[in-house]
Structure formats: C-alpha cells, structure tokens
Symmetry: C2
Subunit: 246 residues, 2 copies
C-alpha cells in the first residue's frame, strides 16, 4: 500500500525535506506530496504525516487552515513548542532537523540530528519511522529541551557566522582576500572535532595577556562595533579562565 | 654548499617549523638546526636565517642573548612589531605563519599564509626564499598590518572556539554529546567558504525576531555568563542588520 507524506512549504527546509524523502524512500512505496503553503492545493487528508516546513511566524496560520487532516501534523521549528498546534490539529508533533539548509547546497541528512516530539507513543512511532528514513540520529525530546538545543545551534551557527564576518571585515580593510584565513578556519574547526573547546582555546584573553588585548582595542579605535564585540568576547574568555593555568 | 637555518624554540610553532623545513627541503642542501631556547647550545653563527619561535613575552630575552649572529633574525609573532628586535640584532625580520599549531597534529603548510617583514630588500628576499620553501602564500607586510591580521585571526580562531564551547555547554546541560552539533558545524563552515558571512547569516537576531531572543534569554536565566555572551553577540548582529531586509 502506498503511503503519503504531505510536506507544506517551498523554502529551504521544505525543499530539502522533499528531496531527501524522495531519494531515501525510493522503492519503499512512499508518495511525497509537496504542498504550496498559500493555496494548500492537493493536500492529502489521509496522509500519515503532514510536515509544516515554514518560517516560525507562519506555522500557526497554516495549522489553522488545515481542516480535517487525519495523520500527525508536525512543524519543523526548533524554537516553537508543540503546544502551538494543540488548538488546530488532533495529533500535533515536531520534526526538527538540526541543520542549516541553503538553496542549491546538497546536504547528506543521514548524520543530521532529527528531533521529534508527539503527544503519545503511537504518534511518536510514526514520527520515528519517517525520521528514520532520513537520519541515523533521531532523538525524542520535549519542547523545552528542544528550545535549549535550538539555542545551542544559534550560538554554533549564527554567532560563529557573525564572528567570522567580523574577522573578514578586518582583512578587507587591509585590502586582503576574505579567504586568506580559510586554512586557519579549517584547522580551528578540525581541532574542535578532536578536543574540547577549553583544550583548544588559545590567544591573549585565554592567557590573560592584557597588553595584547589593549593593542587590539587600539587597532579597532575607528571601528566601535568591532571593538565592542572584541571587548565583550574577550571579557567572557577572561572571566572563564581567570586564575586558570595556561 | 649546505646552508643552515637556526630554529630556536621547543613549542608547537618551533616543532612544526622544524618538521616542515626538514620535509620540504629534502635534497636541497639545507641544514635545519633546532636550538633550545634556554641554552642556545649549538646555535650556528653563520646561518642565513635564525627563527625565534617562542612565546611573545620570551622573544626579547632570546634576542638579547644571541650575540653576533650574521644572518637575518626573525620572530614568529603576529602581534609583536619588528622593532622589538632592533636593539639586539643587526638584521631583524618577521616570519609569521597564520595558523594554529597543536602538538601531535600535522599541518600542510603549503596553503598557510606566511607573513614576512624585513628592513631591506636583501633580507626580504632571504625571508621570501625560506618562506617559499614552506608555503605558496608568502605575503610581505608591515608590522601594523600584521597586527591587524593577527587581530582578524584572534576573532576567527579564539572567539569562534569560545562560541563553540558555549554551545557545547548548553548541550552538556541537556545531557547530550558535544559532537551532536558537528554536522551543523561542518555545514556552517562549508557555507562560509562559498559565500560571505552576511549572505550566510540567519537566525533570530538577523531577522530581528525579538520574541525568540527573549525566550533564549529566559532559557539562560541561570547562566549569567552565557546569557551576557548571548545578549552581546545578538546585539551586535541586531545593530548590523537593523533595517535590512531578511
């Protein structure tokens, strides 16, 4: 018997989920039904699972327009509690892939953690089955823990991106290519996959070298935003390692 | 004729330079002479190049004890001006590899930027020749610009490491393995090698989603240091993209 999964959404997450389900479920009798979030045209009411893959602020509006779908209805948001769906659907769930999806970039989903949540064991098993098609790392987790993991991902992705942007601004001001420090970036990340951050941590703030920190601050005297970022993060490192041997 | 290069230092930078010069100069008639910084025993006075590969605060003490070496004497520090050596040696220089070196981790030096500086063209050519043995990216740059690049490297390596450490603390508090977010880390960095940081930037601060930022801050109410770091970096992103379309 052919089963159907609805995937509502035309953005990056939706597109990647459609592609991944189509590729990984080949020959398994799964119909991957992509649904436009504006019209909801062609939504399959009998689908075992409907995934709402839209931006956080649009989830509720979609859920309110779903009508009588029979299966589990899961959103893909790390920061949104399951409870948002309670008012609109009988069998709410969460299907959150912890990855950054970009148009045109292929992702191998098999190592991407998939965080799932449901109200009862039966729905959890359904989510588990579909998540297992995509990933080897399916984790059953409640809304509060998922919000904390989303916060950890915000540090890891959003903040790292901002810091690397700051570094590249300094290179650019010196007339140098932004990829000049890519070998350093590659090695920095490779080290962090082999050791803890505190083992890998080096630099003036780590060794409490206030003289170099002062020089760095002076070098940023015409860049108040970069200077503040430098002071804030250096202060955080200084406080963490204050009194620690280096 | 066999030439000699002195490399003073027993730490990570010294060890990696000795190994890299030995490997890359095989058959080229170069004698790589490793020198203990405490005794300076066996220092070759006639070496064309002497590299002082010690911590920033130890450079001056070594330089003061070198005596009459004939060749170029270069330190390996990003943050230290060439002028520190002026008082002690006739032909000062800088030989700064922009990479993080760790005991037991091999590095391919060929893509590592090597920043060199000297007082005249003759000495610069010598540094250029030796740097060219190791790397395809040799850059002649003055002390002020080098200090700015060192600052950019501080953001890229030290600050990124600290941020990733913060992310892992949140995972650990949830009882989850620190490598759970490694697929996200890998993809975050891969994206940044293909696009600018501002193109890659996503997240609540980027889209000015104050509601999610508030929830994240509440999740960190028992972690004042992580909360301050979150507020500081989110504030920096908010100010950068304020009014920008997302």
């Amino acid at each position: 018997m052919v089963k159907t999964i609805n995937i509502i959404g035309t953005g990056n997450v939706g597109s990647h989920l459609v592609k991944a389900f189509e590729e990984k479920s080949l020959g398994k009798g799964l119909n991957v039904n992509r649904v436009d979030p504006h019209t909801l045209y062609g939504l399959c009411q009998e689908a075992e699972l409907t995934i709402i893959a839209v931006s956080d602020s649009a989830i509720e509006g979609i859920a309110a327009r779903l009508g009588k779908v029979q299966g589990v209805v899961a959103h893909t948001s790390g920061a949104t509690p399951l409870s948002l769906l309670l008012e609109y659907v009988d069998r709410p769930g969460v299907f959150y892939p912890m990855q950054t999806f970009t148009k045109g970039r292929d992702i191998d989903c098999s190592e991407v953690p998939l965080l799932i949540e449901a109200l009862d064991d039966k729905d959890l098993e359904i989510l588990q089955n579909y998540a297992g098609i995509l990933s080897n790392k399916v984790i059953n987790i409640n809304s509060l823990s998922r919000a904390r993991l989303h916060l950890a991902a915000t540090f890891l992705n959003n903040f790292t991106t901002h810091i690397i942007g700051a570094s590249r601004k300094i290179l650019k001001a010196e007339g140098l290519e932004s990829d000049l420090l890519n070998p350093l970036l590659t090695e920095t990340i490779a080290k962090l996959k082999e050791m803890s951050a505190s083992e890998a941590q080096t630099g003036p703030a780590r060794r409490c070298d206030l003289q170099t920190i002062e020089i760095h601050k002076q070098l940023l005297s015409d860049e108040p935003e970069l200077r503040k970022l430098y002071e804030d993060i250096s202060g955080s490192i200084l406080r963490e390692y204050r009194g620690a041997k280096h």
